[in-house]
């Protein structure tokens, strides 16, 4: 029973299909021909079928049909099928003539024509196959998203035990600080807002830009007081703050700057952050000076892979992420669609 419940990957499923077609062809040919002949022919047929199907969906459709070149697509298909048909007829004929018969047959246009028709059927089937493939890809992606969501919910459940204690305690401390040390009270306020964001906002799929920006600003302020020298940090915002973004996405960049882009012993740290909107897309850019002595050697790696993975999951190909390091300045640029 495990066989039926086991989840196959897309690649495994395709191999499974190819092998079943091979076996089916071979069984149907066994009635007339010898085992060796059936096996060889079934193999050749399957290979050519696969060539037609994959040639169409991986090469012709993406390069021509999807780019709007319909006429060249149709011409290419006819040429493609004809060439494939020709090669197939030729190969089968050569094998047949040299191994399985005493009376060689000759290559006629009639045989090529009939294989061309056969190829055309397979070609039409390749569209059905493509749809099935797309469906499975979509399903695979949605499964992955659901799994991630479940994990996030589990994390939320774990964190739900403590927050009320945390916030009640912060309330108590805020009272003491408010009376005794007003400057501390302001810092507690910032910290509380960050904790609020973590507990209430970050489990959501989308958060308002307003909440996200406040969170980033609070974080930057708290990071600043950790450093002896004043940091020259300017955060430019020119965007409709009612719009939403996935939580903690922009945070990865800011966190990276403070992790790797700050020289704690220098008074010349410079950070520029800009959040703008163009053609219904969010453009987020950061630049920072690179410290002379890097604390961490792969400072450009910054969970970049994880970030890219998350972006692919969220937007597939509809995003741009660029980083640039010229030795003095490190800059990043993110471009994503706005919701």
């Amino acid at each position: 029973m495990r066989f039926f419940t086991h989840k196959f990957s897309l690649i495994q499923l395709q191999w499974l299909l190819v092998i079943s077609i091979f076996i089916m062809l071979m069984l149907s040919m066994l009635q007339m021909d010898s085992f060796a002949q059936s096996a060889i022919y079934a193999f050749i047929y399957t290979a050519f079928y696969a060539a037609i199907v994959y040639g169409n969906i991986l090469w012709l459709i993406p390069n021509l049909s999807q780019k709007g070149k319909i006429v060249s697509y149709i011409i290419a298909v006819i040429v493609f099928l004809f060439v494939i048909g020709l090669i197939r007829t030729f190969v089968t004929l050569v094998i047949y003539n040299s191994f399985f018969t005493d009376q060689p047959e000759v290559l006629t246009l009639k045989i090529v024509g009939s294989t061309f028709i056969g190829s055309l059927m397979i070609f039409l089937l390749s569209f059905v196959f493509r749809m099935a493939l797309e469906y499975f890809r979509l399903k695979e992606r949605s499964d992955e998203i659901i799994a991630q969501k479940t994990q996030a919910e589990l994390n939320l459940l774990k964190s739900q035990v403590q927050p009320h204690f945390l916030f009640n305690t912060l309330n108590n401390i805020y009272y003491e600080a408010y009376l005794e040390a007003p400057r501390t009270a302001v810092l507690i306020e910032r910290l509380s807002n960050i904790m609020r964001y973590f507990v209430d906002e970050s489990p959501k799929l989308q958060v308002s830009l307003l909440a996200e920006i406040q969170f980033l600003e609070n974080y930057i302020e708290l990071e600043k007081i950790r450093i002896l020298y004043e940091i020259d940090c300017i955060f430019t915002i020119n965007i409709n703050q009612q719009l939403t973004v996935p939580p903690m996405l922009l945070m990865s960049f800011i966190e990276n700057i403070f992790k790797h882009g700050i020289d704690k012993s220098s008074s010349n740290n410079k950070i520029r952050i800009a959040l703008t909107e163009k053609d219904n897309r969010l453009i987020f850019t950061t630049t920072n000076s690179i410290p002379k002595v890097t604390s961490n050697k792969d400072s450009n790696g910054f969970g970049l892979d994880n970030l890219r993975k998350r972006l692919v999951l969220l937007y597939q190909k509809d995003f741009e992420l660029e980083t640039c390091n010229d030795g003095k300045i490190f800059s990043t640029s993110l471009n994503i669609p706005l919701a």
């Binding site: 927050p163 009320h164 204690f165 945390l166 916030f167 009640n168 912060l170 309330n171 108590n172 401390i173 805020y174 009272y175 003491e176 408010y178 009376l179 009270a185 507690i188 306020e189 509380s192 609020r196 507990v199 209430d200």
Partner: protein, 158 residues
Amino acid sequence: MTLKCMIIDDEPNAVNLLEVLIGQTTNWQLMAKCYDGLEAMDFLKKHQVDFIFLDINMPHLTGMELAGLLPKETKIVFTTAYAEHAAESYTYQTIDYLLKPITLKRFLLATQRIESAFKQKEVTTNIEAKDESAYFFLAKKNMCGWLPIMKNYFFTAA
């Protein structure tokens, strides 16, 4: 604006914080500080207040349960560490929902909301008093006629 208020919260420092903030930033009259719901019910039997700072998670009687027992004219400002009760809180006569820690900044915003809620109530009551004849006329002619007015009143007060 002089309003009569009270604080209900089981944590002493939470009560102290609100007391300090009220004292420093408003002219309100703090009628009572209660450390649980039953004590508060007892006080409210004998006295009347305009609104209550009400904590939700308390022993014996929760803030939500207490809210259901309050007379409709006693408004509520919830003070809680939980964000998830916000939607439910607005089924009562709630003016604001303060998340702990309650900071000076957020409290000042709340004072504006509270005072404007009571100002609008005053205005609406005055208008109602002036337009008494029109109100009755509409009510007699068509029972549905007064509904929009009431709705309007409810939203501006809330």
